[in-house]
């Protein structure tokens, strides 16, 4: 059952991922990207990362993709929907390089057993609680620095969004 669900979600994610780069209209691209993220959230659930699945839904599929759709609608891209690049050589080189990268990646991912073991074991009962415990103790400094990153992003977006730069 678990495997079947995983393969269904994986096939869905790959098909929608291909559609993200093949469809012409950016709005449709964005909607397919949302479907990819939903599939990945399901896979996170199957892999025992419940909190991450929820965050994937809320932050990625919710906030970030709405931002994308909002910007697409602001730009009004009707007259310049640029599909796949026209030039033959660039397309060809792109396909070759991507296939090469896929080959290299597939040649190294065939591991089923990793050496060593992790620092903080997973608590099967309450993923969120154990995650919070690690986040607020061992990873406290990176967590605080993250807030500074978000502040800088807010300020940067406001500055870039002004009429006159």
């Amino acid at each position: 059952m678990e495997e079947l669900l995983f393969y269904l979600l994986a096939i869905g994610a790959v098909i929608c991922g291909v559609l993200v780069i093949m469809k012409k209209n950016p709005v449709i691209n964005a909607l397919f990207l949302i479907v990819v993220m939903l599939c990945l959230a399901g896979i996170y659930l199957l892999l025992g990362a419940q909190f991450m699945a929820a965050i994937q839904l809320i932050v990625y599929a919710g906030a970030i993709m709405v931002l994308f759709l909002f910007v697409i609608m602001l730009l009004n891209l009707d007259q310049e929907i640029s599909g796949i690049v026209k030039g033959g050589s660039q397309k060809m080189i792109g396909f070759i390089l991507a296939a090469l990268l896929l080959g290299i990646l597939l040649s190294v991912v065939g591991v089923n057993q990793l050496p060593g073991r992790g620092l903080h074991p997973i608590d099967e009962i309450s993923n969120t609680e154990s995650l919070a415990r690690v986040l607020f103790t061992y990873f406290l400094l990176p967590f605080e620095i993250t807030s500074v990153i978000l502040l800088i992003a807010i300020i940067g977006a406001i500055v870039l969004g002004k009429k006159k730069l």
Binding site: V18, L33, L40, A49, L75, K91, L105, P142, A153
Partner: protein, 100 residues
């Protein structure tokens, strides 16, 4: 129990799709979406390995990656908006002033 290698293969395929999209698309927003796709692929491999090692560290890293991705999306889309206001286009082939 899902084998680790299957999750990693899915992650590799999704990452390659993202790279291909950056190569063959010229719309800046779509290229940006492909970058998000790549980030998601890497997140998946982090979570799969965290499951395999029975460790929470991978999930914490994914948390940070998501935060940075959110910040990056806000800044990147603001840059694209500023670009569109100045050049009236989001085609990356026409925005090549810094290219030699």
């Amino acid at each position: 129990m899902i084998p680790l290698s299957h999750s990693l293969i899915l992650s590799a395929v999704l990452f390659s799709i993202g790279v291909l999209g950056v190569f063959i698309r010229r719309n800046a927003i779509v290229i940006f979406m492909c970058i998000e796709l790549m980030l998601n692929a890497v997140n998946l491999s982090f979570i799969a390995i965290s499951r395999s090692l029975n460790s929470l560290d991978g999930q914490v890293i994914v948390f940070f990656v998501m935060t940075v991705a959110a910040a990056e999306a806000a800044i990147g889309l603001a840059i694209i908006l500023a670009l569109f206001r100045n050049r009236e286009t989001v085609n990356v082939d026409e925005v090549n002033l810094m290219r030699w």
